[in-house]
Amino acid sequence: MKKIEAIIQPHKLEDVKAALTAIGIEGMTISEVRGHGRQKGHKEVYRGMEYQVDLLPKVKVEMVIPGARLDEAIQTILKAARTGKIGDGKIFISDVQEAIRIRNEDRGEGAL
């Protein structure tokens, strides 16, 4: 089992969700996050008080999928989340040791 953490542009969330659903990947967890990679922030001014804002709003999509479907899922996310501009985000992949469904204690890929 692999965990995919994709940090994407907030406005790309619907596209990514739809594309993943279309290939049959439905379980996911979404959070609103802030961060920055190479993208530069912007300046905000409130009544003369200046703030440099480096951490920009992003959406993090987390999902755990069977290892066999990893490449397919990655290609789908890349295609759906890309605008080609700086700030499109990143994808991180990691191994998952175990998955357990709380309702009936199913384990492994059957719990996904």
Binding site: E44, V45, Y46, R47, G48, M49, Y51
Partner: protein
């Protein structure tokens, strides 16, 4: 008049509460709204007991007498000295709304760091020692500065440039200096947590201000219309003035700048609203937009005082500018209610050829500044000795909503 009274109350809650509530950090939103709201209750009670009497009772040049104690003799019969065509009770409730919003304006300076108990004590003493005497001096019968009812130094203040905005704005500066800066000021981000709230609040203020200024004509008269018009034009020009200054200075025109400008203009036009024509009103507003922008950006940064929500920069300075310019632009073409001993209409301001009015206005401004500074300092000292004025480090870090009131503005788990 009753509608005007209701409009002025709407300026405090929800107007000012939303305007200020949006400008603070999210951990202080409820405490800031509470600063405005609690005064709607507290000032009302002291107004009924002794406030109205001290402000509008027959007394000496500085303070009213006690004949309206517990609203005694305040009923359906008009008080012809103030407003001959409405019940005195109507006049009383209308004036109460001014006494509520004035101390609420000060909360912009001590927001996010004052103890709630101290805020209550400070405000009750302040309303008693600063507001009631100032209201009496300017609007009360026989008051030192009353232009209509036998004041020795006739000072024009139609709806509260000196009484409301200078007293509150200057006291705000004293509070900001006495309390010291919020912890982390200049180092940590202190961005407004919801400018959408502030926007709604400012627009409610703009509308409510028609009750404040036009209502001050105390009758459904041509003068009320003239004050309404001057108020609106002043606000519009000030919003443009601030936005223009900001655009040139920062490269971007902001919504916060627009609403700050409109409030600055409404403040500045307040004393002048029943005395000036529409174009001078726009001049006053535009000047206020520029001056207040300069105050809250350059001057505040230069001196480093933490007037959290710019109560001094907007109300203190806008009020001062408006009070002085009233002496310049006041004209009997707008307000012919002032007659000399022979019954002839008197020249009012500089534009009428009465240059001495600018001096009278300056004296009015000086007296309100002096009363606000001395009064606030003494009251802060007393409050500090009684309960301590400032929230503890932990309380301030946690936010006043939880530490003072035991609740949060935004419960995401709910």
């Amino acid at each position: 008049m009753l509608v005007s009274a209701a409009l002025v109350l709407m300026m405090t809650g929800p107007g000012l509460a939303l305007f200020y509530g949006g400008l603070v950090r999210r951990k202080n939103v409820l405490s800031t709204m509470m600063h405005s709201f609690i005064l709607m209750a507290v000032v009302t009670v002291i107004w009924a007991i002794y406030g109205y009497s001290l402000a509008f009772g027959d007394g000496n040049s500085f303070i009213g007498g006690l004949q309206y104690f517990f609203l005694n003799h305040v009923g359906a019969a008009p008080n012809p000295d103030y407003a001959a065509t409405i019940p005195q009770q109507t006049y009383m409730i209308y004036q109460l709304m001014f006494a509520i919003i004035t101390p609420a304006l000060i909360s912009g300076a001590y927001a996010e760091r004052m103890k709630f108990s101290a805020m209550l004590i400070f405000t009750v003493l302040w309303t008693t020692i600063v507001y009631f005497p100032m209201a009496h001096m300017v609007w009360g019968k026989g008051g030192l500065l009353n232009a209509a009812l036998g004041g020795k130094i006739p000072c024009f203040d139609f709806a509260g440039g000196t009484v409301v905005h200078i007293t509150s704005g200057v006291s705000a500066l004293v509070c900001a200096l006495y309390l010291g800066r919020r912890r982390g000021y200049g180092a940590e981000p202190m961005k407004p947590h919801s400018l959408t709230y502030s926007f709604i609040g400012a627009c409610l203020l703009w509308v409510g201000w028609f009750g404040f200024n036009a209502g001050s004509a105390l009758a459904a008269s041509p003068l009320a219309t003239s004050a309404f018009v001057a108020t609106h034009f002043g606000a519009a020009a000030a919003a443009l003035g601030w936005i223009l200054a900001e655009w040139v200075h920062n490269g971007k025109p902001s919504m916060l700048g627009g609403i700050s400008g409109c409030v600055a203009g409404l403040v500045a036009i307040t004393p002048a609203s029943g005395f000036v024509k529409p174009f001078p009103a726009m001049v006053i507003g535009f000047a206020a937009g520029l001056l207040c922008f300069f105050m809250v950006t350059a001057v505040k940064a230069r001196f480093g005082y933490d007037d959290s929500l710019d109560a001094f920069g907007v109300h203190g300075m806008g009020g001062t500018l408006g009070a002085l310019l009233t002496g310049v632009f006041a004209t009997s073409e707008v307000n012919d209610g002032f007659k000399d001993a022979a019954g002839k209409t008197m020249a009012l301001g500089l534009v009428d050829g009465h240059a001495g009015q600018v001096l009278n206005q300056s004296i009015g401004v000086l007296i309100s500044w002096a009363l606000a500074i001395v009064g606030s300092l003494v009251i802060l000292k007393i409050t500090d000795l009684l309960v301590g004025v400032r929230a503890t480090f932990e309380d301030e870090e946690e936010g006043l909503d939880i530490s003072m009131h035991g609740e949060e503005g935004y419960n995401f788990e709910a």
